[in-house]
Subunit: 370 residues, 2 copies
């Protein structure tokens, strides 16, 4: 097979999202060196663009040279040491993964659990912190891609302010789709991926560390086990010294740069509004068709919608028909949603009414109603 | 700045190497999902192409979703556990890095050292293994990018055969440029990068694990600290089950696929011969110009040449002139070569006589002789 044989698919799953032609073109620009002054300018601009998106003034804001899950890994491995306590909210796949990563680091993990599809009540998190005031981190998933739940962050962030505990937030599916407001929400470490609401191919994990997080890292008694993800070493490349650490994935950074330019052109607020409107339109239309929304009312993400199929229909064959006959990708359910749910993403360049219309026409074709 | 403003540079440093138009075009193909059957076919073909390049039948052969240094990390973190002994050859930056990573895992590191620019005598490695027969790994760097030294592998591989110790080899700068012969050399874990002799943009780390290595991984008493690089989890995505682990960097895999097609078209032996001939031509021409070759005679890589400048000249300003006035990138020296050496790469699409001619003309312009 040749890459050019790959037929285009409308990407309305949980990611990757559709990538604009302009971004693909930027990605295909001539590769230059990772220490070339031209590339260093691009990298500096990417970091500045990410600060705007994250809503932060954090100096240490950059794309990790790997995909979103490596952002999760980088967050935890830099701030946690074996023996530390980590309080982690678990109400889906990604909270479960955070807990697993923290355990592998050798931490005492305290989970604060909620049913899949429901938020973690902020008071439960705050209570867990009162019970474990020496916890090194409290970690929450802002946009749970496995369920479509939007986790409130402000109350927990406010409760942790002025405290030694760091607030870690997974913004893989939220960054660029809904406000993350790192500084306003008192978040210390926040990571994302490029292939969701930024509409950039997968391969990089934007991340940001507050000064409080960096001070904690400076006071570690052991180096992070991961040399590749060690933010103290990466700082040497990003800073004045431009010290070689690893070869940055040049063309992926080009693509992210163009993606950030596009968001800047649209305006971040307009971008959030677009995700909000299109997501609401889809959710209403799916309910009209007899699908039920899985995420708790009042806490639904616009950019990622989990729906249960009508009449207990099996989701697999219908999802396959969407892909094969209509060239539209949606995701299957995970955990309790396995076999009976779809996860529909309207993210980045996919978040528009044409996507919704194409999807609804295809849904009506594979699942005729009445 | 816009990405399109970046002026092309002839990449003759230690990587990234020049990327062919065909590869950039493949990279810019429409992104599809990481579970799309079309992409899974591309991924399977990439893994098969990598087996040919590595010279192996290892089932677990795939590109790690991050750059070459993450390949190093993935190798060690999967096979080593805290308390294990690791014998590591150190004669440059990358051996030093291997030792550092192994220490961070909590291993007892036994270094076998040689002067930078010289090989590690195989007998020294074999002796170290005799002194530490329970060592979990012996690790060597095949192509030391910091010095241009080509490390012999066969004797050490033969000595370790039938033994519980695993042979780990860094082939970041060798894969595709000189034979690695994983199976013939008795190598158990071998990793590389795409941005050297494969001529593909940085972002992926091809890696291979022997059955012996996989058996060792299966018998671990603790999971690898890195969830992202855990090969047992990645196997679930690469195997029949196609279990979601992380989102593969789709477009980077496209680029690697096209790079492997190009090597297949040329033929691997022809590709090695081209690197060999062009490297020798450069080395002769540099010596004629009064430069001295840093790597030990008889053990010089054709694809990466370290040269000391004539008459004790300072390298920095001249390297800057090559870049600014002639749009050619070469690398500066590291370690003992800092300030007085260049590292010249003739790798992948850069390994041709036109590159050598352009470089020599520029060298003659910035450093007139006679």
């Amino acid at each position: 097979m040749r890459v050019s044989d790959i037929q285009p698919v409308l990407l309305l799953g949980p990611g990757p999202s559709p990538v604009r032609e302009r971004i693909l073109k930027a990605m295909a620009h001539d590769t230059v060196g990772h220490l070339d002054p031209q590339f260093l300018t691009i990298m500096d601009e990417v970091n500045e663009g990410l600060r705007v998106l994250f809503g932060t003034r954090n100096r240490m804001t950059f794309p990790v040279s790997a995909t979103g899950s490596a952002g999760m890994q980088a967050s935890l491995v830099n701030v946690l040491e074996p023996g530390d306590t980590a309080i982690i909210g678990v109400n889906g796949v990604f909270g479960t993964r955070l807990a697993e990563m923290a355990r592998r680091i050798g931490c005492e993990v305290v989970t604060v659990e909620a049913e899949w599809g429901r938020i973690i009540p902020p008071d439960d998190v705050i209570d867990a912190h009162k019970a474990h005031p020496d916890a090194r981190v409290v970690a929450l998933v802002h946009a749970e891609t496995s369920t479509g739940v939007r986790q409130p962050l402000g109350e927990v962030g406010a409760a942790l302010r002025g405290n030694a505990t760091l607030f870690v937030v997974d913004a893989v599916t939220s960054l660029g789709g809904i406000p993350v407001d790192v500084d306003d929400n008192g978040i210390d470490v926040c990571y994302s991926g490029t292939q969701k609401c930024l509409g950039v191919p997968p391969g990089l994990a934007p991340i940001t560390f507050s000064e409080k997080a960096m001070a904690r890292i400076d006071s570690r008694t052991t180096p992070p086990q991961s040399w590749y993800l060690d933010v103290s070493l990466i700082a040497g490349y990003l800073g004045e010294e431009r010290r070689y650490h690893h070869t940055a994935p040049i063309n992926s950074v080009y693509a992210l740069h163009e993606g950030l330019v596009i968001i800047e052109e649209e305006g971040l607020d307009a971008c959030f509004r677009r995700h909000e409107e299109v997501g609401a339109a889809l959710q209403n239309a799916m309910v009209e068709r007899g699908f039920s929304l899985f995420a708790q009312e009042g806490h639904r993400l616009p950019q990622l919608t989990s729906v249960e199929l009508p009449d207990g229909r099996e989701e697999g064959p219908l999802r396959k028909a969407l892909l094969e006959d209509h060239h539209i990708e949606v995701g299957g359910g995970l955990g309790p949603g396995k076999g009976k749910m779809w996860r529909i993403g309207l993210m980045g360049a996919g978040a528009n009414h044409r996507s919704v219309e194409r999807l609804l026409a295809a849904v009506d074709a594979v699942l005729p109603t009445g």
